[in-house]
């Protein structure tokens, strides 16, 4: 037992080592860390772009904060130290612009996407399209209050005169990826997500139909620098990268349409 007894001295030593280890948690000591809050649907495409940016900006690190655009906008309103905001709908960007929380001059329309109706791939779904939705028992969509994909979905269902009929069957996801997850797990019979989301899980979900043309507001992804951010130069550089043709190729590979030339 004696051998394990700690002297006061090395007890303090261990405590110190432990504290240093705690405080060296990733993300604390980084001086040049660009924090990008981006719509959940952009996750894979942005992760693919990240090495390219970091390679051309020595010492810089990009960290992403993915979520529902509305939730991300709320975080920025509350003072989150975000450098760049990428929203999946104009409403959230407008809200921040009204409050002068973004640099309006940097605001740019980046990408477009498509809204699709999906169902679990197995067991074989009895649904074939929007008109079959009344037969479903549970349908998932993003919370229209703060998830852009959910708002577009609400507009489409309203336009197709299905919204009020389906009301009691709707399950709200906290972001578009949760909706995808619900469908992939088979917890719901159908869900509304972006075509780019559905493409990520081709084994688990199948696309039943695309939302009819004009049934929802145009889907626009926007980017803007956040006012008073810590790394405006890096943010501007990342924003420039996003609009370059090579980046557009990556976005297209994931199924997005580029809006900026």
């Amino acid at each position: 037992m004696r051998g394990f007894a700690m002297t006061d001295q090395n007890r303090w030593g261990y405590t110190l080592v432990f504290l240093v280890w705690l405080l060296s948690a990733p993300g604390w000591a980084q001086a040049q860390e660009l924090l990008v809050s981006a719509a959940a649907s952009l996750a894979e495409a942005l992760e693919a772009l990240k090495p390219r940016f970091e390679a051309s900006h020595a010492g810089a690190q990009v960290r992403f904060n993915f979520g529902a655009s509305g939730a991300l906008a709320r975080q920025i309103e509350a003072g989150a130290p975000v450098d760049l905001f990428l929203s999946a709908a104009p409403a959230q960007m407008d809200r921040l612009q009204q409050r002068q929380l973004i640099l309006a001059g940097t605001r740019v329309d980046l990408l477009s996407n498509e809204l699709v109706l999906i169902a679990p791939a197995s067991p074989h779904s009895a649904l074939t399209g929007f008109s079959d939705l009344p037969k479903a028992s549970r349908i998932a969509l993003g919370d229209p209050g703060f998830v852009p994909a959910g708002l577009y979905a609400q507009q489409t269902l309203t336009r197709l005169n299905l919204w009020s009929i389906l009301q009691a069957k709707l399950v709200y996801g906290q972001d578009v990826r949760q909706v995808l997850e619900y469908v992939a797990r088979g917890e719901v019979d159908a869900g509304l997500v972006f075509v780019t989301d559905a493409a990520l899980l081709p084994q688990q979900v199948k696309v039943l139909a695309r939302a009819p043309q004009g049934s929802h507001l145009p889907i626009v992804y926007l980017a803007a620098q956040v006012a008073g951010a810590a790394h405006p130069d890096l943010a501007a550089a990342f924003l420039t990268l996003l609009t370059q043709p090579q980046s557009c190729q990556i976005f297209q590979r994931y199924g997005f349409t580029c809006l900026s030339k």
Partner: protein, 223 residues
């Protein structure tokens, strides 16, 4: 006002159902843990208490694994009945029940253990069966503590968020209890509604805690 009242009504319905379940299951467990010795007792005690220390999202995750359409219990249930507890108000009840059960069991177990065992034995020597003794001696003597346990677990059920979101989802009018509605309203930028609902929930919780303290403040001794 309407979303607020909807959420309140749903919250009360879910919490009352969960509390009702707890009064049966929780009280039985408390009695067994207080009065009996059996192998695996410590394990059972620990299992019931786990939701006290696990994050509710983890509890919710296990519940989905267990009760989801592809879950261990959920899958056969769905095959036989075509019904799944996920994304239903009953799912919200299950989540609230599991998360609040440890409070119910621990507090009422303490109340039952505090009953003077001499009185229980006297009841036995007077020829009363164990069942009669439980109903006519033990539980009446422990009633203050049990009442406090019921109120505490009701309050916990009322405030349940994480496990509910995982198992029951966020369905307006069906599983959007007050805590979930507050979250949605806040994320949507609807600060006024979020504030009203938060105040309402705080008010209800304070009243319940006051009542509960009033009962636990006095000792549950024979009078």
């Amino acid at each position: 006002m309407e979303p607020l009242l909807d959420a309140l009504r749903l919250s009360l319905l879910v919490s009352l159902c969960a509390t009702g379940l707890m009064c049966v299951v929780g009280l039985a467990l408390a009695w067994v843990l207080a009065m009996r010795q059996f192998p695996g007792k410590a394990l059972l005690d620990a299992l019931i208490s786990i939701p006290l220390v696990l994050p509710p999202t983890v509890v919710g995750y296990y519940l989905v694994l267990l009760l989801g359409r592809n879950g261990w219990i959920g899958a056969p249930l769905y095959r036989w009945t075509g019904w799944s507890v996920v994304f239903t108000w009953q799912g919200a009840v299950v989540a609230a029940f599991v998360v609040a059960l440890p409070l119910m069991v621990r507090v009422s177990r303490a109340a039952i253990e505090a009953v003077d065992q001499d009185l229980v034995q006297i009841s036995a020597t007077l020829g009363k069966s164990e069942w009669q003794t439980t109903w006519q001696v033990t539980l009446p003597l422990a009633r203050r503590g049990i009442l406090a346990a019921i109120l505490l677990s009701f309050a916990r059920a009322l405030g349940e968020f994480g496990a509910t979101l995982m198992l029951a989802g966020n369905i307006p009018g069906q599983t959007s209890t007050l805590p979930l509605s507050i979250y949605s309203a806040f994320q949507s930028g609807n600060d006024d509604l979020a504030q009203q609902m938060a105040l309402l929930l705080t008010l209800v919780s304070v009243v319940v805690m006051l009542l509960s303290n009033r009962w636990t403040g006095q000792r549950w001794k024979p009078f």
